[in-house]
């Protein structure tokens, strides 16, 4: 293919060998340590204050390092982890239902469609149990049974009940736990908190990450912040699609700036589309809202059998409805995994049988459940979700079926990291959704919170010291170092450029159009022709952006249009790489569905002989270079997933 070149494979991921149960323990023992007296002389920058960044900053400060923390929001408590609803998985086996570290490991590797690393996933399952202990000690109010012990529920198709939860606000409660630990360290003077600051460049000196260039979003001041190591915990890039369940400010800029400075970007095409979101209501739509996956336990998904049937749902008789999930997947029915449910909804809408404005929606109908269990029972289970739905749509789901449609929710891809969570730039570590490491091609429900906190509380604080132990030998760097000056100058120049174009289109209009291209061609279903078309369209639109965008105001002070413009400019570059990655991966796996590669009955067809690898992309400014990291499966043997 003409769009990229292939470089050397990645030979070493630094994962120890030997029995998988012993690897993490061995790595911790072999890691070098930093004497407590020396820790306070070492500075670590942490970008982002979500579950991963907040927990990492607090924990590193507790260990004695000097931490500088940054977030674009007005407070570290607002990172988008806060919006996670369902729960957090942990292999506690409190239910005595056959769960174990090995089973959580197995389910996660399989759920990721055999595109993740066994060593990393096993470690994740091991530390999952410590996370629950930690959060309970912090005062996280998890749901409890009458006996005072923790309650769990089943989730994401798992056959055991290993999901801990705090009503529908688990992410909020876990994040506030980490935030409070962080605030404690801020109060003690161990963390220097910089809210309303955005990282705009990575400083690399002598091949090592040594700092960042940030903009104070309130004063507009650009400063250079130096450190002994940099940790990115800046989240995922779902907003490249414009419409997603992400918060409006979520962006790829920190990751993308690091990528341009030499950090490889892994599996960018792996995106998770969540099947149950409230559909788009018009051109004004600014974001999409998730309706918890748990609704599929009692709701039945259907569309009319006939194309273009515009009757109200109550006027469509039973025999003219198509409960298509129950029809196609009789054994799993409405509870098939996220990727399968999303694609099936797309297919019926593409056939012209979708419901609601624009035909982009399917019904999620609770009439049967209400009749069977009574309205009260449904209210107790889902009352808050039904209220949220009514607030947004104006429809009462007790009377009229909900309308839902899939939406971009999570990105499994991210910056490439080794077993220590270090990127391909020494001294740059990446944690949480921003890295690619644990979910393969599809993330299971309730595993994002687990991974963010595993990385921040338990993994990074054990691997980062191994790097910092050698910090004494690093080159001395101050703000006058030519590489530091150059990084800062590049940021200032880019801001001036964005402000000076003064064209005739707004940033949002470009972002919306980019999102449409990505959703159309790099969304739920991808084809070679579509992806090639998308790459051409992205390039053309990007050129237009740099000629026609209008960013009002100046760089001195709060300028939300300028913030958005910088983020969208980076999304344009990422979008092209996502399409190249999707084009080169000539197989279907997890959230990546290539129409050319499906089984005779329309399911994803992996090609393990050719594609059982991580695609790590190196930035060159021209054609990206592909580095392959082969995936070995010693414990969980790849099989074809089937839900019929």
């Amino acid at each position: 293919m003409d769009l990229y070149t292939e470089g050397d494979p990645i030979a070493d991921t630094k994962a120890p060998d030997g029995p998988i149960e012993t690897r993490w323990e061995r790595r911790r023992f072999e890691a070098k340590l930093v004497n407590p007296a020396n820790r306070r002389k070492l500075t670590v920058i942490v970008v982002g204050t979500g579950l991963a960044g907040g927990s990492a900053a607090a924990t590193l400060a507790e260990q004695g390092y000097h931490v500088k923390s940054y977030c674009y929001q007005d407070s570290p408590r607002r990172a988008h982890s806060i919006a996670a609803q369902g729960g957090i998985n942990a292999a506690k086996n409190y239910r005595n239902d056959g769960d174990s570290v090995h089973r959580l490991f197995y389910d996660t590797v399989k759920g990721g469609d055999f595109r993740s690393r066994e060593s990393n996933v096993h470690r994740l399952a091991e530390v999952s149990v410590n996370i629950i202990d930690q959060c309970v000690a912090q005062g996280v109010p998890f749901a409890r049974e009458y006996g005072g012990l923790l309650d769990t529920r089943s989730f994401g198709g798992a056959q055991v009940q290993r999901t801990f939860y705090a009503r529908g606000q688990t992410g909020q409660q876990l994040l506030l736990g980490a935030y409070q630990a962080l605030e404690r360290q801020i109060g003690l003077g161990n963390v220097e908190m910089n809210a309303r600051h955005e990282m705009l460049e990575l400083v690399v000196v002598d091949g090592r990450a040594r700092g960042i260039v940030v903009r104070d979003l309130v004063t507009g001041e650009i400063t250079t912040e130096l450190a002994d190591a940099v940790v990115l915990a800046s989240g995922g890039y779902g907003n490249v699609f414009y419409l997603s369940t992400n918060a409006k400010g979520c962006n790829v800029t920190a990751s993308w700036r690091a990528h341009r400075k030499g950090a490889h970007f892994a599996n960018p095409c792996y995106t998770q589309i969540h099947p149950t979101c409230i559909p788009v209501s018009g051109d004004h739509q600014s974001k999409l809202t998730l309706m918890s996956e748990s609704l599929r336990n009692d709701g039945r998904v259907w569309v009319p059998k006939a194309k273009g049937d515009n009757r109200a749902p109550k006027d469509i008789p039973e025999d003219e409805r198509d409960y298509y999930l129950e029809r196609i997947y009789p054994s799993f029915g409405n509870l098939v995994p996220r990727d399968i449910a999303s694609r099936a909804a797309k297919n019926v809408c593409d056939e012209g049988r979708g419901v609601g404005p624009g035909g982009l929606g399917v019904y999620l109908d609770f009439a049967d459940a209400i009749q069977r269990l009574g309205r009260k029972a449904i209210e107790a289970k889902y009352g808050n979700l039904f209220e949220m739905y009514e607030r947004i749509t104006g429809d009462d789901p007790y009377e009229v079926p909900m309308r839902i449609y899939p939406a971009v929710h999570y990105t499994m891809g991210g910056l490439w990291v080794d077993y220590d969570l270090q990127s391909s730039i020494p001294g740059l570590f990446v944690i949480g959704e921003a890295n690619f490491s644990d979910h393969g091609a599809n993330r299971l429900g309730a595993s994002a919170l687990m991974q963010g906190l595993a990385d921040g509380y338990f993994v990074l604080p054990n691997t980062l010291p191994n790097y910092l132990a050698n910090a004494g030998s690093f080159e001395k760097v101050d703000a006058s170092h030519p590489d530091v000056v150059a990084a800062r100058a590049a940021v200032e120049e880019r801001i001036q450029k964005l402000l000076s174009i003064n064209g005739d289109r707004t940033v949002d209009s470009f972002h919306r159009e980019l999102g449409q291209i990505m959703w159309e061609h790099c969304g739920m279903e991808r084809t070679e022709a579509g992806l090639r078309k998308a790459i051409d369209e992205i390039r053309a639109l990007r050129e237009q952006f740099w000629q026609r965008v209008r960013v009002p105001g100046d760089g001195e002070g709060l300028n939300q249009s300028l913030e958005k413009a910088g983020r969208v400019a980076d999304f344009f570059e990422l979008a092209e790489l996502m399409c190249i990655d999707a084009l080169h991966r000539e197989e279907s796996c997890g959230g990546h569905f290539r129409a050319e590669h499906q089984t005779p009955d329309g399911e994803a067809q992996r090609d393990d002989d050719r594609f059982a690898y991580v695609a790590a992309w190196e930035y060159t400014g021209d054609q990206p270079v592909l580095h392959k990291e082969d995936l070995q499966f010693e414990y969980v043997h790849p099989t074809q997933r089937s839900y019929k």
């Binding site: 309970v136 012990l149 801020i186 908190m193 918060a247 004004h284 209008r550 105001g553 249009s561």
Partner: protein, 253 residues
């Protein structure tokens, strides 16, 4: 529908600020309130004017970033609803809507509708936590928590830190915010060792940050989009009284 908006414009902390009138036409009832402001801003940018600055992020009512005084009510007319979840079907064609920032001494205006709520973080840093360094936690089931206490703790923990309580309070008090955290942590066995030092630290930080005193008016709980109950303030007062009378923190007290 067609609307007239009167919006507070203020270039920066030093600027005096003023209400400016804008006309917005063809508003769909399905739009959220913030999407309606997006439409206005898109138009202002193309007209060469500066868009209205306002805080927002998750747009699903949980991050606590949005903070608009709408017709004099924090987060607008719908109960239990943040501004980002408020939809235009709550308004009628031809309405005039006033939009202002939170107004409180402890929340200075940054620009237009954006305020600085850093004072809330300072209250948390002064004791709104349980000291449990990572790695030191005992097994989660070693301490059972009665379900009614766990549920009540959750109810208080649902606070999103938006500041509507402060904006609604005639005294500009942050007592509901402070009390929500005090209540959550004092209902849990894990929160007992620091119970009385916590309440003193947090209340002191609250007062130092420039929040007004609480005189039990109750506007805060009425404006709270998450339904934090007013009785949390009673719990805070009880703990505070006990803490100050017993000189908590002194060993053996």
């Amino acid at each position: 529908m067609n609307l007239t908006l009167r919006i507070w414009r203020q270039r920066g902390p030093e600027d005096k600020g003023r209400m400016v009138t804008y006309q917005v036409d063809d508003v769909s009832p399905d739009m959220s309130f913030l999407e309606m402001l997006d439409v206005l801003n898109e138009r202002l940018i193309l007209q060469g004017e500066e868009p209205v600055a306002f805080d927002h992020d998750c747009r699903e009512g949980i991050c606590g970033m949005c903070s608009l005084m709408i017709n004099g009510e924090a987060h607008g007319p719908q109960r239990g609803t943040t501004a980002c979840q408020l939809h235009m079907r709550q308004f009628s064609d031809g309405d005039t809507i006033d939009i202002e920032p939170w107004r409180a001494r402890a929340f200075p205006v940054v620009k237009d509708l954006v305020v600085n709520r850093n004072a809330f973080d300072k209250i948390i840093a002064a004791g709104g936590y349980i000291t449990a360094p990572t790695g030191s936690a005992p097994e989660a089931h070693s301490v059972p928590v009665a379900k009614n206490n766990a549920d009540a703790a959750f109810e208080s923990a649902a606070c999103i830190g938006c500041g509507a309580c402060v904006a609604a309070c005639p005294n500009g008090s942050g007592m509901l915010f402070t009390a929500a955290k005090v209540t959550q942590l004092s209902l849990l066995p894990q929160g007992q060792p620091e119970r009385y030092t916590r309440v003193i630290g947090m209340v002191d930080a609250h007062d130092e940050a420039g929040f007004g005193g609480c005189t039990n008016i109750g506007e805060c709980a009425a404006a709270c989009p998450k339904g934090i109950p007013l009785n949390t303030i009673g719990r805070l007062n009880r703990d505070y009284l006990k803490a100050t009378s017993k000189r908590a923190g002194t060993p053996g007290s």
